[in-house]
């Protein structure tokens, strides 16, 4: 597996686990309150911490298992794959922001708006890496 694909897997897992933690807290907190839970700095900080720890440990492990290629710049195929994945993620982010703003106009719930926009950022970033994995896998073949 190429170094770029490894990093895409690491970031996908980090974003998934971070998202599960964040929305686990927000959904349970909102159920207790009976309304959208306000955004809390400690929850966002722990989310950032989860992402940072998994990303750092994962990238160190990926670099150690790809010592020869970890520092290589992206080649044309990797740049094309990254650009396609970025394009998909940007589209999803645009749609998510639009939906979030639309729901705000219906509910005037600022807490909900924050969580939806934050969730949109998480989903679009996750799709950015997930799409890279799919595209890398689609072009993979057996080495000789």
């Amino acid at each position: 597996m190429a170094f770029r694909e490894k990093t895409a897997w690491i970031m996908s897992v980090a974003l998934l686990l971070g998202g599960v933690f964040y929305f686990g807290v927000v959904i349970s907190g909102s159920q207790e309150l009976g309304a959208s839970m306000p955004p809390l700095i400690p929850v966002v900080a722990v989310y950032g911490g989860i992402l940072a720890i998994i990303a750092i440990i994962g990238h160190v492990a990926a670099a150690l298992t790809s010592l020869k290629t970890a520092n290589d710049p992206m080649d044309e195929r990797e740049r094309a794959i990254t650009a396609r994945a970025r394009s998909l993620a940007d589209s999803v982010m645009g749609i998510g922001i639009l939906i979030s703003c639309g729901l705000y106009l219906l509910s005037y719930d600022g807490n909900q708006l924050f969580h939806l926009v934050f969730g949109t950022l998480m989903v679009s970033q996750f799709l950015h890496y997930a799409a890279q994995i799919v595209l890398f896998r689609a072009q993979s073949a057996v080495a000789d």
Binding site: R77, E78, S140
Partner: protein, 76 residues
């Protein structure tokens, strides 16, 4: 893994093994690409840019038309 084949066919693997001592990694290093990109090109999973195609042909010591061909039956 599966994946659609490109309409650019090539003889990189045959030329590489018959006329050179390049491994996929060695060829990749010489042309400024990753080993995975050479693997994908050889398997027709990725069509290289014109510049990369010329670089590969140059490193293999063959004219580009000997290394790469266009298969119109795969053109959609």
């Amino acid at each position: 893994m599966g994946g659609k084949k490109t309409s650019i066919t090539n003889h990189i693997k045959r030329i590489r093994l018959a006329r050179t001592e390049f491994t996929q990694a060695g060829l990749a290093e010489r042309v400024g690409a990753t080993r995975q990109t050479i693997i994908a090109i050889e398997a027709q999973k990725y069509a290289p840019s014109l510049e990369l195609a010329f670089r590969i042909a140059h490193v293999l010591g063959e004219p580009v038309e000997e290394v790469f061909q266009f298969d119109s039956s795969l053109w959609d």
